[in-house]
Amino acid sequence: MSAPLSDLSVSLWRGGEDGRYQTYTVPRRDSQTVLDVVTFVQRHLDPTLSYRFACRVGVCGSCAMTVNGRPRWTCRTHVAKVAGGGRLEIGPLENLPVIKDLATDMAEFFRKWQRAKGVFAPSQTRHDAIAQIRPDTPARAAADAAIECINCGVCYAGCDTVRWNSEYLGPAALTRAWTLVNDQRDAGNRDRLQAVAATGGCHSCHSHQSCQELCPQTLNPTAAIAGLKRRTAAAYLKGEIKT
């Protein structure tokens, strides 16, 4: 029989941009996730706590927060992995406006997906035959490598360039653009390459690779952005896009 687990000391961000951390004591459990801890506080200690989650299994991308200084998906982050000394400090994601407590305003994050032309532009209609996609082509392999993004915002919150340059589209939007650039069914690449080659686009990236380090899906946005840099440079030299 294992020894009983001690309590956790949990500091949670309370309020808006000008809020402060408030400390709670939460019982430690086996296989406890950071989202479990936040949910315990809301259900047992303070029902006014605001935070965001949906699926609890790492699919929806809703529950990302800053945990002990690092952006993480809280539903798949075990307390045992991150709570050194039995302490947790949980705040809202950085680089996004705080609405209240642990909930941030993601509107700008998704506006940048629109700016990067992250919407599929069909080249065929429903009356055409279904496209035959070979999974072993280099383009499809590149698209597949980047396509599992769950829009959690962890890469955006951990990006130094986003912090310094509010115009920068960010790793998630550019990774989405890269999947579409490599999608043989898509017909919107000229506009897309034009959009990501402009001010605040892929060339603003300094390749710090924080996005690659932090991505909970183990995607590599830095590689996707490097691909966009190469593709846009080639398109510019061919006169297909302008600045």
Partner: protein, 109 residues
């Protein structure tokens, strides 16, 4: 940073990489051989090769530094893109003027 500036910065970097290595090799050679200023000037005066080498080097460095400083200013200073661009062009012109003046001094004067 746009794709146009990106290409100019990477192209000038690629151009300067061998030029820097040659420049450093020349410095080592000149110091280890104990060449005096007069010895060096006797080799560089009237030399089209040295004029072209350092002239290209100065041009590439001025463009490369200007673009890099523009990027730093847009990220780290309150200047907007237009003002940062103007400051970067001024820096590039200054570097080019100083560098080309030095090239003139050792090749043509």
């Amino acid at each position: 940073m746009t794709v146009r500036l990106y290409i100019w910065q990477r192209a000038t970097a690629a151009l300067m990489a061998p030029l820097v290595l040659i420049h450093i090799a020349v410095i080592f050679y000149a110091t280890r051989q104990g060449l005096s200023a007069a010895d060096i000037l006797s080799r560089t005066r009237g030399s089209v090769v040295w004029a072209a080498y350092y002239g290209i080097f100065v041009a590439a460095a001025s463009i490369h530094a200007g673009i890099g400083v523009r990027n730093i200013l847009t990220e780290w200073s309150p200047l907007d893109d237009r003002r940062a661009g103007q400051a970067a062009i001024a820096l590039g012109v200054l570097l080019a003027a100083l560098g080309l003046r030095a090239v003139y001094a050792v090749v043509l004067s």
